[in-house]
Symmetry: C2
Subunit: 306 residues, 2 copies
């Protein structure tokens, strides 16, 4: 079975949306990526750090869903990373209310020996120095996928460029693609980002879907139109997890297969937003996944013989 | 051959975008709809009004492209409707600089006798009273398509509802769908708009594509990602014209065929924005249309056997 290394935060989130608010609940990029990727036939190894305040039951849940958590460092006398945010009525924009780095401030990622030969590496949103550290510990990787955000473009651009030069796929949102490239058109932005290193550029547009660029080829996957979006937190990570998990399980890193990976990522993301935090991701059944996959197929399928 | 009646403005536009600005050039909803619809095998009859200042060469151009302009009233001592707008840097938002109704203020649409038996009626964005007048003159219509906008929701909502109750298809943008329905989710909005009359609801999202709703079925067509958008003016009308023109020519008003119509509409809209005003729409060749159709197919096509 193939191996997938996932580095990212395992964290506490406190979320407020127009539909309600939560106390500290389980969150973090690696958590969402792992919950999504673990649906595929690949060994998922998490690399992260938590504090002594992190409940054992959360760690057990990750293990029980098939994730290897050897690489999750527990700093007994430290506190777990905490993020708090409030979504606006449109659910597309949010204010960050609190960010407490805690144990993340001194995070030195260690990839367990059993995962140093991983074929696929998913670099969740984190300081580029941490991402670089993981790349150095996974020399056998055939596919490295990077997720990042504007925060690192503002604060650590040089090091971020060092990471970008070493990865095969980058996933960022539309505004970040514009910021990174200095180009407004997403077609022009993707072209410029190609020259920075990644052969594949995935631009996430939230409720407006996702674009995959490779050379002069473009693939577009819509987001599933939903009756109700309850909490968008983690949707981008869930998308990345489905994308990486599918590619790792199939061991086929072609453009054609990446299209499928984008659809699987979008499929999982559509579940993620239906409940607060990771709740929905912990309850999905294979039947639900397949039913929604059929909806994705129907959504864009048309026949024109011109 | 089938007949398609198009009612809407034939106008002067003055446009400013980050790429340049124009003096008064040819514009108007019916103009763009007609230029798009006339690519299909259907008789297109325009119903509109212009002033004595409207150049004969513009009227000749419309005729030469196969449109019947008997229904375009020329008010010798009146002035043509004029709109002026300036697009912001993102090209998605614009300020209206001037709106001069002129001859449009007293427009009483008259459908020529030869088009009273039209199978398809495309009601371009205009006062609902004018749209109602055209519906009354086309009793044989098998498919009535309505385009409207927030302006009429604000100023003539009751009469707009009267029109909405009589049409088969409504095309509006996402914000307008939310305003009309009072629902934020587009799925919920479409469901509510169905109850107002239209069996088919098309929600236009500009660069983010278009959604077609029918009962519980949803179809999504992306906009073609473009290297450069030069002038978005008329893109929505061009979309509607391709949609209506294809349906009229095929005389098949099923959901399956409407999907194709959405793709044709999106295809024409992708050309429209490449130059100022109607310039690009006057130069498209059948080869260009087919080449871009293949791009649309490639853009969303994927194979998953789950």
């Amino acid at each position: 079975m193939s191996k997938l290394v996932v580095v990212g935060t395992v964290a506490f989130d406190a979320i407020e949306t127009p539909f309600g608010k939560t106390d500290k609940i389980l969150g973090g990029a690696a958590t969402f990526i792992g919950l999504s990727a673990s649906h595929f036939n690949t060994e998922v190894g998490l690399v992260s750090v938590v504090g002594g305040d992190f409940p054992q039951e959360y760690l057990d849940m990750l293990s029980n869903r098939g994730m290897n958590i050897e690489g999750v460092d527990v700093v007994k006398d430290g506190k777990t990373f905490f993020w708090s945010g409030k979504y606006h009525n449109d659910m597309n924009t949010r204010d960050t209310l609190a960010t407490e780095l805690n144990v993340l401030a001194d995070f030195n990622p260690v990839v367990p020996n059993s995962f140093k030969d991983a074929e696929v590496v998913m670099l969740g949103n984190l300081h580029p120095a941490v991402q670089l550290g993981v790349i150095e510990q996974t020399p056998a990787a055939k596919l490295i996928i990077l997720d990042t955000m504007n925060f690192w473009m503002d604060s650590a651009l040089d090091m971020l460029h060092e990471v970008i030069a070493k990865v095969d796929v980058i996933t960022i949102n539309d505004e970040e693609a514009r910021q990174l490239s200095g180009e407004y058109s997403l077609v022009a932005a993707a072209r410029k980002i190609h020259t920075m290193g990644p052969k594949y550029v995935v631009i996430k547009k939230g409720e407006h879907g996702a674009l995959l660029f490779h050379d002069e080829h473009i693939f577009f996957a819509p987001a599933l139109p939903l009756e109700e979006v309850f909490d968008p937190t983690g949707a981008g990570d869930t998308f990345a997890g489905g994308f990486a998990g599918f590619l790792a399980s199939s061991e086929d890193y072609s453009f054609e297969n990446m299209k499928r990976a984008i659809i699987y990522g979008s499929n999982f993301a559509s579940f993620c937003v239906e409940k607060f935090g990771t709740e929905r991701m912990q309850s999905i059944t294979p039947e639900e996944i397949n039913t929604r996959l059929e909806q994705f197929k129907a959504l864009t399928k048309f026949e024109i013989n011109a």
